[in-house]
């Protein structure tokens, strides 16, 4: 079956299902319940964006859902706003609340965010109850109008179902597109490893707030459906903390990170109470026990269970068959282009640089309380060279790399990269100015594929924004193809071709190091910082790494290297800087350093009291 027919298959099935469902389910009670399930599912889709994609726990989804419902209800009943315009008002007001809540809290992670969102939910409920002039207090808002098409009112549950179903389908389609886009990958990079996301070029604060706002906006649309369908009545107690928890459970039960899972979870748990009616008062207890059991026994939810079944594996292979083939063609093409050029033509001396200074560091210092980890270091890295930064353990090497890459703010000193002052700038800005790094303890986006890891490396050289990503516009497709070509080239370069679709975590240690290198190179850095790239590698792998370093250098990338393997350092470095106790004690060529008495003392510790 060709791609065109495949791409029409899903829409065709959906149209048939949506058109036929009200024919088979005629009871308006059940149709109302289905509409409610759709409203919940949309809120869950939103929660899935912030929790599943971005890894931030929000416990205010019901509050955003309520903000959407109330916004549209107030505007349509009091100001006579058309009901259809209410959707946009619900989306944007909820999203705005998301931004306002996100700005103070998203700088922090996990627990703080979760608790701050609970607080937000409580404040929203207090406002709904107390600001009677606006919300009519605990009595709620009644007689909320239905949407109209021409002179036809979409009032009965069967016709409102079409509105709900179309919203759900469009929003799901958006959420799925988002996942495989530049923005979605930035979200997932934050989830997998926030620090590495920053040094790979992702503005983590910006994307977290974006995810939060989008998630709130989705909830707002869900709230719109709730207000204008069903009983046409809303009151504050619907939008409680307990409801937020229920939305969370729906999302997690369905399968955190899976858009379809959110819908399954949302629908299942809306209909389940009907089945569990006989439990009466103990219903919430059964529900709560269910949450704990799901966490223990089904960590990846229903989506996780289903996607591991043999039938779905086969189905996925069939579905992806064409796109995988296309990718492989692209991969071989890029490798052919490559092999002619740099690979064989290197000699170590090719690397000696132009002499122009790329990175200047002056008086750099970092103090942690009383500890002077780095204390007034000057150094310069020349373009085209491989420079090494060595020193005994605790001499401040990694601290310097962390300041260079923006993870630490220096206590004092200047850093300039190609003329731009970068000291104290955010990691993603430094990355976009042309510096990339790897980490001593590898920091990959473990749950993502090898290819996705490298694609994120191209983040700062691509521009697709939220709406281009969701709508999958032609410009986004072209950019995506370019990113892929570059990523495949990088994988080929480090020798990971053929592993594109493996999960990054599943690679053996040595290959994980190579993948981190490929990800760093994908951002086209002028300066590459490598923090102990040979740590944990065996002799053969180290030798391959040396070859790779020379090749990277030949491509015009300057390297600053922290390494304990002295053979490697002496072998590759044009210039070596030696640190001890946060101060520079020597610099020069490999020969000079080998003979320097102070360096020998530092490593062998002849001075009394230095050990």
């Amino acid at each position: 079956m060709n791609t065109r027919i495949k791409s029409l298959l899903v829409p065709a099935v959906l149209v048939v299902v949506v058109l036929l469902l009200p024919r088979f389910i005629t009871s308006s009670y059940w149709l109302n319940l289905i509409n409610l399930a759709i409203s919940f599912s949309i809120a869950c889709l939103g929660l899935n964006i912030v929790l599943g994609y971005t890894g931030q726990l929000s416990l205010a989804q019901a509050a955003f859902w309520g903000v959407g419902a109330y916004t549209s209800a107030i505007l349509t009943t009091q100001l006579g706003l058309p009901v259809w315009a209410g959707i946009f008002a619900a989306f944007f007001v909820a999203a705005l609340c998301g931004v306002l809540l996100g700005i103070p809290t998203l700088k922090l992670s996990g627990h703080y965010l979760a608790m701050a969102t609970i607080g937000f939910g409580i404040i929203v409920q207090l406002i709904l109850v107390n600001e009677i002039w606006l919300t009519n207090g605990s009595d709620g808002i009644t007689k909320i109008p239905s949407p109209w098409i021409g002179s036809f009112e979409l009032k009965d549950p069967a016709t409102f179902f079409y509105v709900a179903a179309v919203s759900l389908i469009l929003l799901t389609w958006g959420a799925i597109h988002l996942k495989n886009s530049r923005v979605g990958r930035a979200f997932m990079a934050i989830r997998e490893n926030e620090m590495a996301a920053g040094t790979t070029g992702v503005d983590t604060t910006y994307y977290k707030i974006m995810a939060f706002a989008l998630s709130a906006g989705y909830a707002g649309v869900g709230g719109w459906l709730f207000a204008h369908g069903g009983s046409h009545y809303i009151s504050p107690d619907t939008f409680s903390f307990d409801q937020s928890v229920i939305l969370l459970v729906m999302t997690v039960l369905g399968g955190n990170g899976s858009a379809i899972g959110s819908i399954v979870g949302g629908t299942l748990l809306t209909l389940l109470p009907e089945v569990l009616r006989f439990l009466k008062d103990s219903y919430m207890m059964v529900y709560a026990a269910g949450i704990v059991l799901i966490m223990i026994f089904m960590p990846r939810g229903i989506a996780g269970l289903v996607s591991n079944m043999p039938i779905s594996l086969r189905l996925r292979t069939w579905w992806n068959a064409d796109s995988v083939a296309t990718l492989q063609v692209a991969a071989t093409a890029s490798s052919r282009e490559n092999s002619g050029g740099s690979q064989k033509a290197f000699t170590p001396r090719d690397c000696s640089g132009s002499g122009e200074v790329l990175l200047t560091v002056k008086g750099l210092a970092k103090h942690f309380g009383g500890l002077k980890a780095v204390d007034g270091v000057d150094m310069a890295v020349r373009r085209g060279e491989i420079q090494a930064l060595i020193g005994p353990n605790g001499s401040g090497k990694t601290t310097i790399l962390n300041m260079l890459s923006g993870l630490y703010v220096p206590t004092a000193g200047e850093i300039s990269l190609g003329g731009a002052a970068i000291a104290g700038k955010k990691p993603h800005i430094i990355t976009s100015l042309g510096m990339a790094r790897t980490f001593q303890n590898i920091r990959l986006f473990g749950e993502l594929t090898v290819l996705e890891n490298v694609l994120i490396g191209r983040h700062c050289h691509s521009r697709a924004g939220l709406f281009t990503s969701i709508l999958r516009l032609p410009s986004q497709k072209a950019e995506e193809a370019a990113i892929r070509a570059k990523a495949l080239e990088m994988l080929e370069f480090v020798g990971l071709n053929g592993k594109e679709f493996a999960q990054a975590n599943s690679l053996p240690y040595g290959q994980q190091r190579l993948l981190e290198l490929a990800r760093a190179l994908a951002s086209d850095p002028q300066l590459l910082l490598l923090d102990e790239p040979a740590a944990g590698l065996n002799a053969a792998e180290t030798e391959a790494l040396v070859g790779l370093l020379f090749q990277i250098c030949t491509r015009g990338v300057t390297i600053l290297l922290v390494e304990h393997d002295m053979n490697l350092v002496m072998n590759v470095s044009d210039h070596i800087t030696v640190l001890n106790f946060g101060k520079k004690i020597a610099e020069g060529s490999a020969e000079e350093i080998e003979k320097n008495q102070e360096v020998i003392d530092a490593y062998l510790g002849t001075e009394v009291g230095n050990a």
Partner: protein, 293 residues
């Protein structure tokens, strides 16, 4: 505004703040031990309040007897809680554990409603309902009891962590589990003990606060979230921070409810929380800790 009203409010604020501080300590001790925020911490105060009401009102036990039984009950409760909500998920990331503690919290709330009914219960007062008159400042004696009991507990806790081997082992476990294990400390046991201790703190909070509020299934939720706010305001992970943050929030809340708006009384804790997060994320007494690269 006259000074005696203000002083009365200070005492009331310190009393409520003591409750927040006790529950906040429970949060912090568990967080330090297992790096997870226990979202059912408020229920650690709700459950003993119900147990105490039941013992006193239905079994007609004396106050002292009730305290002993409730503390023992909560000790066992702490172990059971740890085995269900934390232990099976100990090797996973914080998210599943948080969700699981939320689940247990909802279970407890609805369990309490199922057993004791939805009507608010009132706990018999161990102190006289007559306000004491200190030179024109009228103070509910229960407030004094709350503040004194909290001080006594804090004193005991200081002694426990500074002077006893068990306390030292718990601190060592919180600092570095692997090293503690290498030194022969039974880390799993220490974690269980931490949960027990934390839930006993909850027992104290529940018994102390019971007489001034009605005992309801929802009483724990608000105490829990405010206690958490306290621990962040004070500096998360810091024991003195949790205590001072609790007292601070308790007092601020009473004053804000009186002078600003009583309808939004429950919102002030969060407004302060958000202000602190914006201006001084490490908390008033905390130190900034950066993740290691």
């Amino acid at each position: 505004m006259d000074w005696s009203t203000n002083l009365q409010m200070v005492v009331a604020g310190l009393a409520m703040g003591s409750i927040y501080a006790l529950v906040a300590l429970g949060f912090v001790l568990i967080f330090n031990a297992v790096n997870v925020v226990n979202f059912a911490q408020g229920e650690f105060a709700m459950v003993p309040a119900f147990v105490a009401v039941w013992l006193m009102s239905y079994l007609n036990l004396s106050f002292a007897m009730t305290c002993v039984i409730t503390v023992v009950f909560m000790g066992i409760f702490g172990i059971v809680f740890e085995r269900i909500a934390y232990y099976p998920l100990r090797n996973r990331s914080f998210l599943p554990v948080i969700i699981s503690t939320i689940g247990v919290g909802i279970f407890l709330k609805n369990g309490a409603q199922l057993i004791f009914g939805a009507e608010p219960l009132s706990m018999p007062r161990p102190t006289s309902p007559e306000a004491l008159n200190f030179f024109g400042v009228f103070v509910d004696p229960q407030y004094i009891v709350i503040i004194l009991c909290t001080l006594a507990l804090l004193g005991f806790q200081y002694f426990f962590f500074e002077k006893t081997m068990l306390g030292k082992k718990m601190l060592a476990t919180a600092q570095d589990k692997q090293m503690a294990r290498l030194l022969g400390i039974r880390v799993a046991t220490m974690i269980a003990v931490t949960f027990v201790y934390s839930s006993i703190l909850g027992a104290a909070a529940g018994i102390l606060v019971g007489p001034i509020f009605f005992v309801t299934k929802d009483m724990g939720a608000m105490i829990g979230v405010k206690a958490f706010c306290s621990s962040i305001v004070g500096g998360f992970g810091s024991i003195p921070g949790a205590i001072l943050g609790g007292l601070f929030l308790g007092v601020i809340e009473v004053f804000a409810a009186y002078y600003v708006s009583s309808a939004y009384r429950d919102a002030f804790a969060f407004i302060i929380l958000i202000l602190v997060l914006l201006l001084r994320p490490q908390g008033i007494f905390g130190e900034k800790i950066a993740e290691k690269a």
